[in-house]
């Protein structure tokens, strides 16, 4: 056993770091660091940069135009991206649909869609959740009826992240309402967002932001060749995709970045003339969450490495999701706490490009309460933490 990066892994890390230093536009980096709103163009610009280096689809095996990286290399890449202040890769095409098509897609799908994801020509969104189907995703009701060469799709999807930017949606639909189990009778369809009968409606979140949407489908015609895999077998592909969604959700890199911010803030904010970091109560909480994160980092590496290159992570990834989100939420809570009264002022325009008024209190204080509230989503989405516990109890513990 050797818990240090090997020489070649260190060289890889330096390569990634150097490339990011030279290619991440400073203006974009500043927006990310300052929690400013990113436009569709910002995301495109960054995807385009990564594409030009061949790193956009970093999860994919080399034969499909991916990087073919080992789990450790992927881990290094993820950490360096966050550390550099790069925008996150919008995961729906590169990290979610890509691996599903590689594993289950037809040759035609691979030929049509994979290059378009690789070349950032399509922006994908995820049509999974419905108003009545959240944790119980398999109860979904959006219906697709085969009529000749097309499916007619009717229903409603929700929590569709950045659906208002998307060109296409991968969508779970019910094709057999009479199947003996809800998991049977679900199919995995690829749908053009500009098809007649699709309406995207914004959902404003508690911080007033627009990131997620409702997608309404009324008599939407989808060619039968847009079916992935077999009819009524979509649940298998959906679950495969979810395990990919789950690992990123642990967000160890994000937690490390948040922790660094927390330490910086705790050293700058004064309490009775002393830095907050020297307050025994606060210092204890800070130390505790750092212990949790150190362990989490290793736990994450152990699990990821065990999966092996190009394989879907195991059910243990549910544990990573639970613990990882708990840690990230805890640090965001301590950050909110660290700024004291200056966590309160909230001027929405401050998050727009070009806002030049002086900050209220410490420059980096205003996003912190919003960040705390926004990150409540971590324990809800991607399969709520309660559902993850069910998975672990059943699959890992055998209960």
């Amino acid at each position: 056993m050797d818990l240090n990066y090997s020489e070649s892994e260190r060289a890889f890390r330096d390569e990634v770091r150097d490339w990011l230093a030279q290619n991440l536009p400073p203006a974009l980096r500043e927006k990310v660091i300052k929690h400013k709103r990113l436009s569709k163009e910002d995301h495109h610009l960054w995807h385009e940069k990564l594409r030009s280096r061949g790193w956009l689809c970093w999860h994919w095996p080399a034969e499909h135009g991916g990087t073919g990286w080992t789990p450790v290399q992927k881990h290094i890449f993820e950490e360096e991206m966050i550390d550099a202040g790069a925008p996150r890769i919008i995961p729906f095409g590169p990290n979610m649909l890509g691996p599903v098509l590689i594993e289950f897609g037809s040759e035609a799908h691979k030929k049509t869609y994979l290059p378009r994801i690789l070349n950032c020509e399509d922006w994908w969104c995820q049509g999974y959740s419905e108003p009545g189907s959240g944790s119980d995703l398999a109860s979904l009701k959006t219906k697709a009826e085969r009529r000749g060469d097309v499916y007619i799709v009717n229903g409603q999807k929700t929590w569709t992240t950045l659906g208002h930017f998307a060109d296409k949606m991968f969508c779970l639909v019910r094709t057999d309402p009479n199947a003996d189990k809800p998991q049977k009778g679900i199919s995995f369809l690829l749908i053009d967002m500009d098809s007649p009968g699709i309406e995207v409606r914004p959902i404003y979140t508690l911080d007033g932001e627009h990131e997620v949407n409702e997608v309404w489908l009324t008599d939407v015609e989808v060619p039968v060749e847009n079916l992935v895999g077999l009819e009524n077998e979509g649940w298998t592909y959906a679950k495969y995709l979810l395990t990919y969604e789950r690992t990123g959700i642990a967000g160890v890199g994000y937690s490390k970045q948040l922790l660094a911010h927390l330490k910086s803030m705790a050293n700058r904010r004064k309490e009775g003339g002393q830095p907050l970091a020297q307050d025994p109560l606060f210092a204890a909480k800070l130390a505790e969450v750092e212990i949790d994160l150190m362990a989490m980092d290793m736990f994450n590496l152990r699990t990821v490495s065990a999966a092996g290159a190009g394989k879907a992570p195991s059910a243990e990834s549910s544990l990573l999701k639970i613990k990882g989100t708990q840690i990230r939420q805890r640090i965001s809570e301590l950050l909110r706490q660290a700024v004291g009264p200056y966590a309160c002022p909230y001027i929405s325009e401050q998050f727009d490009e070009g806002y030049n008024e002086p900050p209220i209190g410490p420059e980096d204080a205003m996003p912190l309460a919003r960040q705390y509230f926004n990150l409540r989503k971590l324990s809800i989405y991607g399969g709520s933490n309660e559902i993850q516990k069910n998975i672990v109890a059943k699959t890992v513990l055998g209960l």
Binding site: S135, P341, Y346, I360, A369, N385
Partner: protein
């Protein structure tokens, strides 16, 4: 012992509840995302006509109540209806220093406060004070015996942009580190106010003073500041209890009606036990708040011990209730359209005013050692 409200207070409670209910629904306080009513003259006038502001002031300050129990009762209802209006900044934080110091001298001003004609704000917090209420870098230079000039910066002052008069703490230029309290006109020369809303829809502001003319309320204001901050912390704790009740009830209702896996999610033990925990912890917070209300005007150590116990629980349990309410609702509680989201923001942010749970834990450690 008698845990029942007196007849007068029962009546006050019922009338206030009805009034806030109608105001909340008529003005869509909640649907507007907790829109602040500070600038709604109609609401403030109606509240004063109903005696709601006077109920927060003692009889010798031209009021009708002002006891710890009156404060707790009214603020619990303000929480229940998520009313964001300047009750705390004007009737408690602004008015209390005046009547504690001299009811005669400030009689006219206090009468205007009770009648809803004048709004006040208390400016004690500074950029580096965090929750230390006795910290002031702002300086007071004497002009004559009663008149001073103030210079400095006050941070996150509730009701600042809306106040006709501000009560400001400052270090006495000629004193042994004494902290004085001063009255400053909201339109005084040399006063700059940057007004903003908070993430929990309070109206607040940062204030810069440059040789601003001020009238001295007290040259040694420490005790007054402590008593006033104690009252403020009590009000916030009571408001938190009001918010918690609504959130818990809404969550119970939600888990009864939300069906997943073919049954209501409230039928799962893991959900039931978490709601039982909430109920238990809310009752703890309510109890501590009642105790604090009864001790609001006790001797300082006794008072502060009970106030800190209540405000620590309001912070700790407030976080628990807000987080669990969101988690048990799921994504729907993250939506602007959902009332409970705005309740959760307010309940969480109450911990950032007048001492957070750590601050009050440390007070408790000091007082119970």
């Amino acid at each position: 012992m008698d845990f029942n409200l007196s007849e007068e207070r029962s009546l006050l409670s019922a009338t206030t509840d009805r009034f806030l209910q109608s105001a909340a629904s008529a003005q869509k306080i909640i649907k507007g995302g907790g829109e602040n009513l500070a600038n709604d003259a109609g609401f403030w006038q109606e509240a004063s006509e109903l005696g709601l502001i006077e109920a927060l002031l003692p009889v010798d300050a031209g009021g009708l109540g002002g006891d710890g129990l009156d404060l707790a009762l009214i603020f619990e209802l303000l929480g229940k209806h998520l009313v964001n209006a300047p009750f705390l900044s004007t009737a408690i934080l602004g008015a209390m220093p005046l009547w504690l110091q001299d009811t005669q001298k400030f009689a006219a001003l206090l009468s205007d406060v009770g009648a809803g004609k004048v709004k006040l704000a208390l400016a004690i917090s500074e950029a580096d004070s965090r929750y230390d209420i006795q910290f002031a870098a702002t300086e007071a230079k004497p002009v004559d015996t009663e008149n001073y000039q103030l210079s400095g910066h006050k941070a996150v002052v509730l009701g600042a942009g809306d106040a006709d008069q501000l009560v400001v703490s400052a270090k006495m230029a000629e004193g042994n580190g004494d902290i004085g309290l001063f009255l400053v006109d909201g339109k005084a020369q040399g006063l700059k106010i940057r007004s903003y809303q908070t993430i929990d829809a309070q109206l607040a502001g940062d204030i810069w003073l440059e040789d601003v003319p001020a009238v001295c309320i007290s040259e040694k204001g420490s005790d007054i500041i402590s008593q006033t901050a104690a009252a403020g912390a009590l009000c916030l704790s009571a408001e938190a209890v009001g918010l918690m009740d609504v959130m818990k009830d809404a969550t119970i209702e939600y888990v009864k009606t939300r069906k997943q896996f073919g049954r209501s999610i409230g039928s799962f033990q893991v959900i039931q036990h978490r709601l039982v925990d909430l109920l238990m912890e809310i009752e703890q917070t309510r109890s501590a708040t009642m105790l604090a209300a009864a001790h609001l005007f006790s001797k300082p150590d006794m008072r502060d011990k009970h106030i800190s116990a209540a405000k620590n629980l309001a912070g700790r349990i407030g976080k628990l209730v807000a987080e669990e309410t969101i988690q048990l609702h799921g994504g729907i509680a993250m939506c602007w359209e959902t009332d409970i989201a705005h309740y959760a923001k307010r309940l969480t942010m109450i911990d950032h005013y007048l001492g957070d749970s750590d601050y009050h834990l440390k007070q408790m450690m000091r007082l119970s050692a």
